[in-house]
Symmetry: C2
Subunit: 105 residues, 2 copies
């Protein structure tokens, strides 16, 4: 690795907190719970949309809905995100996580 790529890789993490083992466990549980709830919502909505399909427009609307939700969820729950607290911040704002679930962080 040359100097410039080492700098590029390490720089964004300078403000990242160092997580204790218990904090990591709390973070993982909260993350998985929010993701699970969001996927459950998408599954329920998909079943509703599928049952209501009457023609090709409804069919391709469902495809578009799934593609958009997949991309949004992939982006929002990027667990390699260098700033996991930003992920949690967004989930709190969207009421997908409660402060109680993050107690201990």
């Amino acid at each position: 690795m040359n100097i410039s790529s080492a700098t590029r890789d390490s720089y964004p993490y300078q403000n990242e907190p160092i997580w204790s083992r218990s904090e990591k466990a709390i973070a993982r549980t909260a993350f998985d719970a929010a993701l699970g709830r969001e996927l459950y919502e998408v599954i329920q909505k998909t079943k509703q949309m599928a049952n209501a399909i009457q023609g090709s427009a409804d069919l391709w609307d469902l495809e578009l809905y799934l593609t958009q939700r997949r991309k949004e969820i992939d982006f929002k729950y990027d667990s390699h995100h260098s700033q996991l607290m930003h992920v949690f911040g967004r989930l709190l704002y969207e009421k997908r996580l409660s402060e109680k679930e993050l107690r201990g962080l």
Copy 2:
């Protein structure tokens, strides 16, 4: 339009049959019937897959299925295809059209 684009546009049609009004009507009816049956199959399969979703893997499998079927159908039923007889040939081969539906062409 310059000469080269005029040549490019007209050249592929040199072997295209000239359709009578009744042939065009038969072709349109057969085309719409085959497309309608194929879309009906996809809608039924989509409803089955959606009802059977248990987790995120099933959810994204449905998205992939829809994307693949949409692309395949878009390609297969390209009504601007310069050789509509090739579209019908494929649909006959796939048993999505009967020879009876093309009687008169």
